[in-house]
Amino acid sequence: MTDPIIDVQGLTKSYGGKRGIGGVSFQVAEGEAYGFLGPNGAGKTTTIRVLMALLRADHGTARIAGLDAWNDSVQIKRMVGYLPGELSLDPGLTGQQILEYFGHLRGGVDQAYVAQLVKRFDLDPTRKFRHYSSGNKRKVGLVQAFMHRPRLVVLDEPTSGLDPLNQQEFGRLVAEVRAEGRTVFLSSHILSEVEQTCTRVAIIRDGKIVREGGLAELKDIKLHEVTIAFAEAAPAAAFNAVEGVERVEALPDGKTLRLTVHGGVDAVIKAAAQHPVLAFTTHEPSLDDIFLRYYQTERSPEPVPAHV
């Protein structure tokens, strides 16, 4: 990787002995969309707030575009757009006034582009911030993060509270930003969201990076929970050997199976099609569930070496 735009090495931050991050290292290349995955309290926000010079690291270095995140924070913020995890703004200002204010603080922004972003997210900028729903508050935050066309956008849980349509719009915006050679760094605890928007991913748990690599390299941790209701007695044995099935559980009614499937569910669908099926539902477990299974059930606590 040549001249990473984000270069974090051995970053450590603790809150008086409480949970923080310990020895976090990763690099993000210019122009890529980098996902920072982890369950709640894993250290995602702490890492981001150190990058934004809102927290001062105890040890290690964090550099953005070759500049020190703490000492050169003002220079860095000229090229960075930021969306915090919890957005707190003046409740008495309208969305438009908030965007105008932050536009001024950034030394002026392209108003036409701001209007375009507002339209894309279907945001009503005339309402006061206090009257916005959580999703609309998020939209205000997203617009202000992108409106000055920053070289690097740092987003903490960007789609939290957004409806599916706006999540899609967000995905398109990230793709456009990438296409222009700019960089997106986003945190999330939703695996599928990161899958759709990012090219590389780091997984953080208990303040440490446990996996890092391209999306394809992380497919092995993806799990689905599939529930199949059959018209007759559930053929549990028929699924034990199906590709990707890790666990088969027969529910008390005797006609329903719950499967834990690693990777794609194509083989499971084909196997189920051999029997009369009443209902077939699948859902992606939360990252917390994945971690729980991946690191406890599998009994493989050793972090897998990072793939950079």
């Binding site: 809150y15 707030r49 934004m52 010079a53 809102l54 927290l55 001062r56 003002v74 220079q75 913020k77 000229r78 960075v80 930021y82 915090p84 919890e86 957005l87 707190s88 703004l89 003046d90 409740p91 309208t94 438009q96 006034q97 105008e100 204010y101 932050f102 001024h104 603080l105 950034r106 030394g107 005339t126 309402r127 206090r130 935050g141 202000q144």
Partner: protein, 546 residues
Amino acid sequence: MFRSVYLKTLRDYRVPILGWGLGMGALMLTIFTAFPSVVATPEARASVVALGPSFAWIAEPIKLDTPGGYATWKYGLTLLVVVLWPILAHTGMLRGEEDRGSMNVLLSLPRGRVRVALEKVAAMWTALVLMAVIIGLMAYTGAAKVNAGLSLPDAVLFGVNLAVIGAFFGSLGLVVSQFTQERRPATGITSGLLLVFIVIDMVHRVIPNTEWLSRLSPVYYFNLSKPLVPGYGPNPGAMAFLVAMAAVMVAGGVWLFSRRDIGGVVPLPAKLHLPRRASQSERSALQGGWSLRSVYSRSLAVIAAPTFWWTLAIAGLGGWMVVIVKQAEVQLNKLLQGSPLMQQILHVGGSGGTSATILSSLFIFLPLLLMAFAVTQASRWAADEEDGRLELVLSTPQPRLSVLMARFAALATATVVIALVTLAVTVVASGAEGVRIDDGNLSAAILSMVPMGLLVAALGYLFAGWLRAAFDTGLLSFLLVIWFFISFVGPGLSWPEATQRLSAFYYYGTPLLNGLPVWDTVLVIAVAATALALAAARFVRKDIAV
């Protein structure tokens, strides 16, 4: 203590119960203990009695030669400071929880809104009763030391009377908070009403045949009870009336709360609506002209409304003091000329004339109010960081130092505006009333309030480097009360000068009589600048909102 809303709320109030109870109790203890030195000789005792009618606007002068009578008269106004906490607590108990979002969670429990609200009010009133007992016991201890002849029931009733007036204004705050979007405006409006009612109560003691007007003020009914005055006692009817009014307001407030949206307000009747505001886009264009251009201008816009109300209060009080002084001038001239001791009681010196002498003793309230304003605004700085409102501002290319200095500069601008308006009002009032005051000294007295306000603000910014908003506000308020206590009570107790130097008011001096104490003012500015520099040094290094 977490078994019910009532117990949890009572637990939340444990520090204010002790703080306000012990603080007010200590004041009473000190006043009683100091009384013998005030009336050490028969001449001094006679002078105090003679002085009373001239200062009847403070409180009704009855049996001023007794410790209870003297305390009731001289500290009649000061005692009402205890009402501030019930106002803060009542406006915060429902609206404050809505501001924080915790009301949503609380109301998701299988409890009705009315029950939740009533449990909170019950906890508040229990806290007031506990506070009243503490105050009463400490007043009784002080009175016993000087053989004031105060019975324990009367001492406790003195505390209860304070609790009752606190409950009245708190309940008023509860009602007001149903009509405001946030807690702060409700607190401001209720505090403003407290000031208005205090003035309405004073009117009948200054202007004859106006008792009908003063009867409209709840403070009038509070003052009908004088449990500390021997043979006078409490007025059960007045106390019952205030309790009944408070209960009615609580019922009204809870009823409104039970019918409105959480996070919403009770709509005012159409007749009470303010004139239609400009549309959002019009306002946006107007505000965009100045208030959204920088951290300084935005801070100035945010502080504009409280500055307006505080200016009204401080300038109004300044002008009103001038009017009061004119009325008391003639009578006091005689008293002061005939009694050097009286001059000592009034802490006079210099050569400013009678008006300046009286005004000087009153003007101490002006810097106190300006400093209280600074406390509220300094606490907003701490609260903004705690609430995460600085997060996005600090993600823009604004150096932390610039953000802090811009906020402080806006506050400094507000204090200067308040001082200038106050100066203008007092100059006009003195001209209109024919009160003779040296213009230079008057300017010095009012403008030197600014460094006092900035000192408090700088200390608030400094404390915010380590403390959460609530503790920052608490510490600043405590400091302010202690300073005022030292300067207000210390001279009467003949405290050593070294002790009096611990109070910032010492350095404010008596500029109306003796002109600007240049070096003391420089010292205040230097301490403020140092505190601000330390606050800045801390802020540029600290973790934000941890």
